[in-house]
């Protein structure tokens, strides 16, 4: 039964990465009904900025590089909302897809120019180097950071949405933006804040995951696929749905690796098709009105 611990740990870590990448995507879609293909670019910027900020040092620099990278990405997000996204609210999905796909391509080229085509690495911070023993198995210590960050983001978002007046407004904007505006709330400012928050979460995801991956141009595209699967399976706009879907997709990957290693990468898609066949609007989503 030793392997169970490893598989569970691997699943949790994969699910956490997926959740970090998709939480902001689903938040943005929920509030503004915008499908943001450039969300993966924010994730990529988070990772690349971390590589630049950390350099080759393995020390404590990592711990301030992560929040700085995330905040920088939030600023980029605010700029993107003001410059582009603001003009495509309420437009048809195709227009939104084209506009955000254009952003995706521009950002990919920009990253290539700034950071080059070669893969960059972020050293695992010293305090989480190596592995720890859980139930007789060696688990990478850094997994704890990723899982911990995902839990903190999930709980933090939930508290923000449930308990604060900002969260109250975001939830109101999901259902009835016109009434919210009529009650004196500055909807445009709210949307800029939400978009920046979504970008911040993607940037944080990229920054936190960077020590476990090869940071190269192209991670924007690969992460956006996973993030979309999670967002759609969980139900567009549902944070809880994203968390549950991330776990399910992570688990299906693990199951695939165990059952049919050659076909492992298809398992998440099979899981997605199965779930969407039964609930086309996702686990925690609602049918479109």
């Amino acid at each position: 039964m030793d392997t169970v611990v490893i598989e569970v740990s691997g699943t949790l870590s994969a699910a956490s990465s997926l959740f970090l990448a998709s939480a902001g995507l689903t938040l943005i879609f929920g509030a503004m009904r915008v499908i943001n293909l450039a969300h993966g670019s924010f994730y990529m910027f988070g990772a690349f900025l971390t590589t630049s900020l950390v350099g080759f040092a393995t020390g404590a620099r990592f711990w301030w590089a992560v929040p700085v990278a995330a905040l920088a990405v939030a600023l980029i997000g605010a700029g993107v909302e003001l410059g582009v996204i603001r003009h495509i609210y309420g437009k048809e999905h195709l227009t939104q897809l084209l506009a955000t796909y254009a952003l995706f391509l521009i950002f990919a080229d920009l990253a290539l120019r700034i950071w080059g085509a070669e893969s960059r690495a972020v050293p695992v911070p010293k305090s989480f180097f190596g592995s720890i023993e859980i139930a007789g198995e060696q688990i990478p210590k850094y997994n704890l950071v990723i899982v911990g960050t995902a839990i903190a983001v999930g709980v933090g978002l939930w508290l923000l949405l449930k308990l604060t007046t900002l969260g109250w407004r975001i939830r109101a904007a999901v259902d009835d933006p016109e009434s919210l505006e009529a009650s004196g709330v500055n909807l445009q400012l709210l949307f800029t804040v939400v978009f920046a928050l979504g970008a911040l979460l993607a940037g944080l995801g990229g920054a936190v995951i960077s020590p476990q991956i090869a940071v190269t141009p192209g991670i924007d595209g690969s992460i956006i696929v996973g993030a979309f699967i999670v967002t759609v399976v969980g139900g567009l706009g549902s944070i809880l749905g994203a968390a549950v879907a991330a776990l399910l997709i992570g688990a299906s990957e693990t199951a695939g690796t165990l059952a049919a290693p050659d076909w492992a990468s298809t398992f998440p898609y099979i899981a997605m098709i199965a779930i969407l066949a039964v609930r086309p609007w996702g686990l925690f989503g609602q049918p479109e009105r």
């Binding site: 308990l163 604060t164 007046t165 900002l166 969260g167 109250w168 407004r169 939830r171 109101a172 259902d175 009835d176 016109e178 009434s179 919210l180 505006e181 009529a182 009650s183 004196g184 709330v185 500055n186 909807l187 445009q188 804040v193």
Partner: protein
């Protein structure tokens, strides 16, 4: 005049929805806008509240230009159209809905909702009393009757402390009893607090019953304006309504 428009015009492509409208709403009055379907009433309201930007013309609220401003900024200046925040959080109680509307424009977005709610509970209960809903304060907002629902909408609008309240067909779809209740509420609000109310209405009984002034809109333009008696006896108004197969009800014999 608390609200004035001059040459207010809105075109959608080649279609003129609101055509060169001069409207003057005096402070403390109930002013109604009537007109056949498609006359431009809703578009006119949307121009006033900032949902649409006018193609041309001016709108002034207490002398200050508001045309082209954003809806939230116009609402904060005191021109508020009754809205339905209850559709947003249907599970909130009637009291909580009003509390939510009071705190909606707060500038401290990270404060806890529950603490805010407590701090405005007295204010919320007073508002419910004003619209006659104190007895159902604890009920779920979406369980109310149609008439009470509309009273709650009005309470939500009052929570934003309007100087001028806009109501778009407040009695639409109501039973005669509910219509009477809503009409009474609107009239009482105006009488007891001096609140200026601008409303559009299909039900002519309601219009003739409580309006101080009436403006008649036809094909986007104001074709008549005056007291109830003046408008009722205006030949052009009669033609418009008869032409639409919608004769004026309760014309004086």
């Amino acid at each position: 005049m608390i609200l004035s428009t001059r040459s207010l015009t809105k075109q959608f492509g080649s279609f003129t929805a609101v055509d060169d409208v001069d409207l003057d709403v005096a402070e403390g009055t109930i002013h109604s806008i009537i007109g056949p379907n498609g006359a431009g009433k809703t578009t006119l309201f949307r121009l006033l509240t900032g949902v649409h930007a006018p193609t041309a013309g001016r709108v002034t609220l207490e002398g200050a230009e508001i045309a082209g401003r954003k809806p939230h900024s116009i609402a904060r200046k005191g021109l508020v159209q009754s809205f339905q925040l209850t559709s947003v959080f249907p599970r909130l109680s009637v009291l909580e809905s009003v509390q939510a509307a009071i705190i909606a424009p707060t500038r401290r977005p990270l404060d806890l909702v529950t603490r805010y709610h407590r701090s405005v509970e007295g204010e919320a209960r007073a508002l419910l009393a004003r619209v006659g809903l104190e007895s159902v304060a604890g009920s779920q907002a979406n369980s109310l009757s149609h008439g009470d629902q509309r009273a709650l909408d009005i309470a939500l609008a009052l929570a934003t402390k309007p100087k001028l309240l806009l109501l778009d067909e407040p009695t639409a779809g109501m039973s005669p009893a509910e219509t009477q209740k809503t009409t009474q509420l609107v009239s009482e609000l105006n009488r007891t607090t001096g609140l200026t109310i601008l409303f559009s209405e299909h039900d002519m009984d309601v219009v003739w019953g409580i309006s101080h002034r009436v403006s008649v809109l036809h094909q986007g333009a104001v074709i008549a304006e005056g007291s109830v008696a003046e408008v009722q006896s205006n030949p052009e108004v009669m033609t418009v309504y008869l032409g639409e197969g919608e004769p004026l009800e309760k014309l004086p014999a």
